[in-house]
Every structure is written in structure tokens, then in C-alpha cells.
């Protein structure tokens, strides 16, 4: 079935939303995928949602869609791998290209690139388990807290949804936090904890250049925006537009756009930021496949800006179809 968008005149055939996969964020991905697929169906598109498993490529090859929307979170989805494969298959897709994904998904790399572009990011150290084992965990942790101070945010270097993240307020909590982070990956990032207002800013580009959505400020009941606070409706208060002075809100938008461009992101992204008490905007991480669940911030900002989620996704698909496949 082929749809024609009356506003653009473009023809959009079947769209495949890929969601699920085997990452720790499978459940979140399935929810994001379902919401995006439903929204696009509501906008009149012919949408099929598929899991990322061994049946995916044969199905894509047998009946190539006009566009793929990767809604996989975590590894494979956000480290560029699935997009690499889509390029091998000559399939247009929504979102950043593999190299940009790799830079954005790896938090230390993203922080270094963004910092080089003039954006504040909390000082951090990224280390593998082996370093602690070989040099002695106590000595390394002591050096780490001496340099970065306390409190710290400890998280896996390559993961999302706040999985494996802990706030460390005393040296005694650090070993536990490191173990929790290493449960999700080989590298752990310890980052100076910035006290302030957590803000998420989505960026979309529907063909006329990237534009920032309204910043969303995040106020979790427990004070920490962890997995439970993210995915339990009601446990976090969101304010959109964010409760920030106008200049700070504008700075958040500017930073998110700069991150989008600096990391070479495409179509859609989300930057997670913190605005401290002095009004400084700090970059924490970027997301190449931001969540679209019922409690995610990008859909919230989309609606607050008077956009319709399905129509916006349809526009992003339209852009990807017009762009055509990229060769790996």
C-alpha cells in the first residue's frame, strides 16, 4: 500500500518499525516501537512492527519496505550496528548514520567531542574492570574520588535508560556502584555529579534543518531519574516548557542543536542536560534513538509544541525516503 502525503506530494510505501532486540532495553524498545507505529498508522501510513531477530533480514529482503524506523534502544540499536546492516541492504532509514551513532552511544567519546565544541560536560573518568583488578581497586577508586570529588554519578559507558546508574555520595558506596555499572558492560564511567535541574531536549529535522523542541525539565519524586522514575507513570513530574529562565531554556536548545551537529546526528536526537544553580548547562549524554514510550520526554515535547506525533514521524519517514539508501 502506498500513501501520498498531500502536503509534500511524496509517496511513502510500507514502513517497518524495528523494535525489541536482545539488549537490556528490549522492553522499553518494544514500548517505543509500539507507540511510534501506532502514531504513524494514525497518520495514514502502512506500518509493520518487527523484532530484531533472525527473521528480520529475510523479511526485509523478501518484501523491502520503503523505509525502516529503528526504535531499538541500547546496543545494536544505538551503537550503529543495525543501521550498518540497513545500509548493506540499501534500505532508507530514519536516524543517524553508523559512525555518528558509535560516537554518540559511547559516552566518553560523545563527551569529548561535545566538550571540544565548547559545551560544558562534567569531568569524568572511564575505566574497564581490568584496570581496577590490575592496579588495585582501592587505589584507583581513591585516585578517582580525589580527582572528581563526591558526589559522583557512576554509569555504564555504553547503555541507556539509566540502567546500572548510581549516585555515589560516600567512598563506601563506590565499589557497589562500580559493580552495578559493570553488570551492564565492560566500561564504567564515573562522572562528577552536577546538582541542578535535569533537562531533556529533543531535536528534529524534517528537511529544513535541525530544530530544538521545547526543553522538558524532569523532577523525579525520589530525586534521581532512574529506571523506575523513567518508566513508572506518575513517579516523575515533567514541566514543558522547562521551568527555567528564558535565557537558560534558550541555552539548552542551543546546546542540544550543537550536540546534534557536532556528533553528526540526523533526523532525530535527544540530549540529556543539567542546568546547575548558576545557570550553566552541562551535557550528560546524547541519544540517537530516543525513547518514545508513554513516559518519554520527546513525545511530550512534540505534543507541547503543538505537533502531532504521527504526522512528525511521517515527515521524518518522508525525509528518509527522499534521501534514499546510503551505501555502507
Amino acid at each position: 500500500m502506498t500513501q501520498t502525503d498531500p502536503s509534500t506530494g511524496a509517496s511513502t510505501g510500507r514502513v517497518v518499525v524495528v523494535a525489541g532486540g536482545l539488549s537490556h532495553e528490549r522492553d522499553v524498545s518494544l514500548r517505543s516501537g509500539r507507540r511510534v507505529a501506532d502514531a504513524m498508522r494514525g497518520a495514514g501510513l502502512d506500518v509493520e512492527q518487527l523484532d530484531a531477530d533472525s527473521t528480520l533480514l529475510p523479511r526485509l529482503a523478501e518484501d523491502p519496505p520503503s523505509c525502516v524506523v529503528p526504535m531499538l534502544h541500547g546496543e545494536t540499536g544505538e551503537d550503529g550496528a543495525i543501521r550498518e546492516v540497513l545500509e548493506l541492504l540499501d534500505l532508507p532509514y530514519v536516524g543517524a548514520r553508523p559512525t555518528a551513532c558509535r560516537s554518540a552511544f559511547d559516552k566518553p567519546t560523545a563527551k569529548a567531542l561535545v566538550e571540544a565544541a565548547g559545551v560544558h560536560t562534567p569531568p569524568s573518568v572511564c575505566l574497564p574492570h581490568e584496570t581496577f583488578r590490575e592496579l588495585g581497586a582501592a587505589a584507583v577508586m581513591s585516585a578517582l574520588t580525589d580527582r572528581l570529588g563526591l558526589p559522583l554519578m557512576v554509569k555504564p559507558a555504553r547503555s541507556g535508560s539509566a540502567l546500572g546508574c548510581s549516585v555515589v555520595r560516600s567512598p563506601a558506596d563506590l565499589p557497589h556502584a562500580m559493580v552495578d555499572a559493570f553488570a551492564y558492560g565492560a566500561l564504567a564511567l564515573a562522572e562528577r555529579f552536577v546538582v541542578g535541574t535535569e533537562v531533556a531536549v529533543g531535536v528534529v529535522d524534517t528537511g529544513d534543518g535541525p530544530r530544538a523542541l521545547s526543553p522538558v525539565s524532569i523532577h523525579p519524586d525520589g530525586g534521581v531519574y532512574d529506571y523506575t522514575a523513567r518508566y513508572t507513570a506518575g513517579s516523575t513530574e515533567f514541566q514543558v516548557p522547562a521551568t527555567l529562565p528564558q535565557d537558560q531554556a534558550a541555552e539548552c536548545a542551543r546546546v542540544a542543536l550543537l550536540v546534534h551537529e557536532t556528533l553528526g546526528l540526523r533526523d532525530v536526537s535527544r540530549s540529556d542536560l543539567i542546568v546547575d544553580d548558576e545557570g550553566t548547562v552541562w551535557f550528560l549524554e546524547a541519544n540517537v534513538a530516543p525513547g518514545f514510550t508513554e513516559t518519554s520526554t520527546v513525545p511530550l515535547a512534540v505534543q507541547a509544541d503543538g505537533l502531532e506525533l504521527g504526522a512528525l514521524c511521517a515527515e521524518l519517514v518522508d525525509v528518509a525516503v527522499r534521501r534514499g539508501p546510503a551505501r555502507a
Binding site: 536482545l22 539488549s23 537490556h24 532495553e25 528490549r26 522492553d27 522499553v28 518494544l30 507507540r35 501506532d38 502514531a39 494514525g42 497518520a43 531477530d53 574492570h129 581496577f132 583488578r133 581497586a137 540502567l163 546500572g164 565499589p175 557497589h176 562500580m178 559493580v179 552495578d180 559493570f182 553488570a183 551492564y184 529506571y227 523506575t228 523513567r230 518508566y231 513508572t232 507513570a233 506518575g234 513517579s235 516523575t236 513530574e237 515533567f238 514541566q239 514543558v240 508513554e294 513516559t295 513525545p299 511530550l300 505534543q303 507541547a304 502531532e308 506525533l309 504521527g310
Partner: protein, 439 residues
């Protein structure tokens, strides 16, 4: 169309956030529950799920019986029925219970939507918020969920390889009585315990009954696995020797098929009356169709022969798991060797937190249920439940091989960082157990 209401300024994305009952406080998203979503993928060897393996059921026979049921008795099977359950099935249930020494009258049986609903109904009619229920340590995650929903306080009593320890039960009762607490009942799974895998020894059974009789503590005997013993005839039920002080729960989920959702409670007359009223309030009646299908199966099919086949299949899987554990587990681990049922309880070396380790296991494509799911008080972090009922023996061995590798990595990590304690304080108020297909 995306029908989520457009937010204006300040939102919690839940219009009812200030209206929920206080008991929903622990009903939150959990990383651990999210990980079970990955466990459902075929690449993962799931030693987590407690799904009965019904691959051996003669589906043609079941299908024929259901077709006959609809053609011969459709208007009854598809209609509302009695809140207590059909008379025929209640008679058959009495015959099933006779295999465990129980002499009962069909009038005292209430058919329920799985024995899970029986736990719910019993708790509903006995427990006010704050009332105490004594459970084994560990205990069935689904029952703990019910007790939490009714705002009961769960007090655990220790077990060993012979099941619930009489001295631990005595001590728990004494301590509670001394504190002036009201004990509503002892919830116990005497046979092939879920999750511990142990069985209450024949020698201890009279003692447990006597302790409860003396202290006037009602016993809720949950026995879904009683006919699935590998090496012996069914154990004599507690209810067989105590009619007034025991409510007995049974189920066809493991001996036939869980999809019918048919279980039952056998209760003293006065309790039974209340259970029927509670059942009518909850569901009007258990499903007529399911009850009649189960009756037809019991009547027309060699169901005991089928149970014997199930036992042999599960025994082979138990052997595969125990052999693999012996061959592959690192030093410092210990486990129970069940003589029936579905589960092995694995205790890991000190310092390893099985809940914190689960993401690493999922990355290695193996899943289990962390021990904390089976305690109401946050304990259990040094143990896990392994289920052998569903995967093939080859997959079980592969799963244990993967798990052993994960454990070795985790032990190395713990050696690097030292004992780090557990998240007990964080897990006390939250349900971190598996979903209904895993319980």
C-alpha cells in the same frame, strides 16, 4: 492517532496519580522485570520460567474432547455456572486428593481460577492490613504478591533440606505472640517447594501440625506439585491428618494444563461458605467451559498415566540440571536436589548478589530468578531459583554452562571490589519477581 493527552506545563503523565490506593505504592517499573522481557527470546536459555512443559500432552485427544464438549454440552459449557464449581469436577477433585490421603466431601471444595486465586480468596477473607502471615524462607513469589496486595506483614521461617524447620516455626510464632501480633495463617508448600525444591519430611509433618494446633494457627497448604514426585508415591498431605486446621489448595496446572486456569480450595465448612461468597464477588463463578473440559479429560483420558509421563520428563530434566551443576559450577556454590517438581535453589558464594548479576547473565543469554523475589524482606540476594521444567536437557546444560561463566566473572569482579553489600533496603517495597508466565 496518538491519543495520549497533550500535556500543558506540568504533568506526571498519569491523570490518576493522586487517586490510587496506598497499596499500589510498590507497583513500579523495575529493571529486573524488564530484563525478563529479554529472557523470553529463544536465544536466551531461560532457567527462570516456571511454565509447565505440556509438550507431552495428547493435543489430539484434548482437542477432540473439547469439540465433543461444545457439540454435546455447549449451552452449559458456555454459560455462567455455580460460584462453587461444577459438582462433577468437585467429585473428581476429591478423587485426586485421595491419592494424597485426603478424605473430603465435594461440598467442601471450591473451584478457583488456578490455585493462585485460591490464595487470593483465602487472604481476602482472613487478612486485614497489618495481619501477619508466616511463610517459609524463601516462599512462592505469587503468594507473596497476594499478601503484599492485602497489606499483610510476612514473617519468614527458615527451611532446611527437610523442609520447614519446626524450631524456626515455633520461634516465629513465639516471637509474634510475645509482640502481641495476630497470626492469620501459615502459608506452606510442603512438596517440591517453589522455589526451594525441598520437601517437608514425613517425620516433620505431625510436628508442624502439632505446633500449629497448639498455637491455634491455621495452615494454608499449597500443593500444586504433590503428584510430581520422581522417586516415591505421593506424600501424605497435611490436610489428610487435620481437617479443621488446614485449608488445602490444589491445581490442575501442573498435572494437566495451566491454560484452563482450574485450581481449588478444600476448606472447613464455615470457611468454604465464605470462600464461595468471595468467589462470587470476584468472578461470579469459575469458568464453566474450563471446568467441564478438565472433567472430560479426567473422565475420558488416562490422566494418571499422563502424570507419570510428566514425572519421567521432569526427572530427566532434573537430572540434567543437577549433573550440569555438579560438573560446571564454581567452588562455593551449593544447591538443593529436588525429588520432584520444577525447581532447584542455588546458593552462590558470599558477596555475589544475584540480583545485581542478572544483567550480566542476560548478556550471556541465560536467565534465572534472583532470590530476592522470594522474600518479603529483601533477603535472598545470595541465591537464585533455577527452573528445569521447560528447556530440554541439552539446553539446561548449556544454560548452566553459561551461568557458571557469569558467576566466575562476577566472583572475579567481587574479588576486585570486595564485598559490596546488597540493595536490600531498596528492594523491600518493590515486586521484582517475574511475570505470570514465569512465576
Amino acid at each position: 492517532m496518538d491519543h495520549t493527552p497533550a500535556p500543558t506545563g506540568r504533568t506526571r503523565l498519569d491523570s490518576y496519580v493522586d487517586r490510587y490506593a496506598a497499596r499500589t505504592a510498590g507497583m513500579t517499573a523495575s529493571e529486573i522485570r524488564a530484563l525478563f522481557s529479554v529472557a523470553s527470546r529463544p536465544e536466551v536459555v531461560s532457567l527462570a520460567g516456571g511454565m509447565p512443559n505440556i509438550s507431552g500432552l495428547p493435543l489430539d485427544v484434548v482437542g477432540g474432547a473439547i469439540a465433543d464438549l461444545i457439540s454435546d454440552a455447549g449451552p452449559t459449557a458456555l454459560q455462567y455456572g455455580s460460584g462453587q464449581g461444577t459438582p462433577e469436577l468437585r467429585e473428581q477433585i476429591c478423587e485426586v486428593m485421595a491419592l494424597e490421603g485426603i478424605s473430603a466431601h465435594p461440598d467442601d471444595v471450591v473451584v478457583t481460577v488456578g490455585s493462585q486465586q485460591a490464595v487470593d480468596l483465602v487472604t481476602r477473607i482472613f487478612c486485614d492490613p497489618g495481619d501477619v502471615v508466616i511463610c517459609e524462607a524463601p516462599s512462592y513469589v505469587g503468594a507473596l504478591g497476594v499478601f503484599k496486595a492485602f497489606e499483610c506483614e510476612v514473617v519468614h521461617a527458615e527451611m532446611d533440606e527437610h523442609g520447614l524447620r519446626p524450631d524456626a516455626l515455633r520461634a516465629a510464632i513465639a516471637s509474634l505472640c510475645e509482640a502481641g501480633r495476630r497470626i492469620k495463617f501459615l502459608y506452606t508448600i510442603p512438596n517440591f517447594h517453589n522455589p526451594a525444591g525441598v520437601t517437608l519430611s514425613a517425620e516433620r509433618r505431625p510436628e508442624i501440625l502439632e505446633i500449629c494446633r497448639e498455637a491455634d494457627v491455621l495452615i494454608l497448604e499449597d500443593n500444586p506439585y504433590g503428584l510430581l514426585g520422581f522417586d516415591q508415591a505421593p506424600m501424605r498431605a497435611l490436610r489428610a491428618d487435620e481437617a479443621e486446621g488446614v485449608i488445602y489448595l490444589g491445581s490442575f496446572s501442573k498435572t494437566f494444563a495451566p491454560g484452563f486456569r482450574v485450581g481449588w480450595a478444600l476448606a472447613p465448612h464455615a470457611v468454604r461458605e465464605k470462600l464461595v461468597l468471595a468467589q462470587e464477588s470476584a468472578t461470579l463463578c469459575p469458568p464453566s467451559f474450563s471446568q467441564m473440559a478438565v472433567s472430560s479429560y479426567l473422565r475420558e483420558h488416562d490422566w494418571q498415566g499422563q502424570v507419570k509421563q510428566f514425572r519421567e520428563m521432569y526427572r530427566e530434566r532434573r537430572d540434567a540440571m543437577v549433573d550440569a551443576l555438579e560438573d560446571l559450577m564454581p567452588p562455593g556454590c551449593s544447591w538443593t536436589v529436588p525429588s520432584g517438581g520444577f525447581y532447584v535453589w542455588l546458593t552462590v558464594p558470599p558477596g555475589v548478589d544475584t540480583k545485581a548479576m542478572l544483567p550480566r547473565a542476560v548478556t550471556a543469554r541465560v536467565a534465572y530468578v534472583p532470590g530476592t523475589a522470594f522474600f518479603a524482606d529483601g533477603f535472598g540476594s545470595s541465591a537464585m531459583r533455577l527452573s528445569f521444567c521447560y528447556p530440554t536437557p541439552e539446553r539446561i546444560r548449556e544454560g548452566v554452562r553459561r551461568l557458571a561463566g557469569v558467576l566466575e566473572e562476577e566472583m572475579e569482579l567481587r574479588a576486585t571490589f570486595g564485598a559490596t553489600g546488597t540493595h536490600e533496603a531498596l528492594t523491600r517495597s518493590r515486586y521484582d519477581g517475574p511475570g505470570s508466565d514465569q512465576a
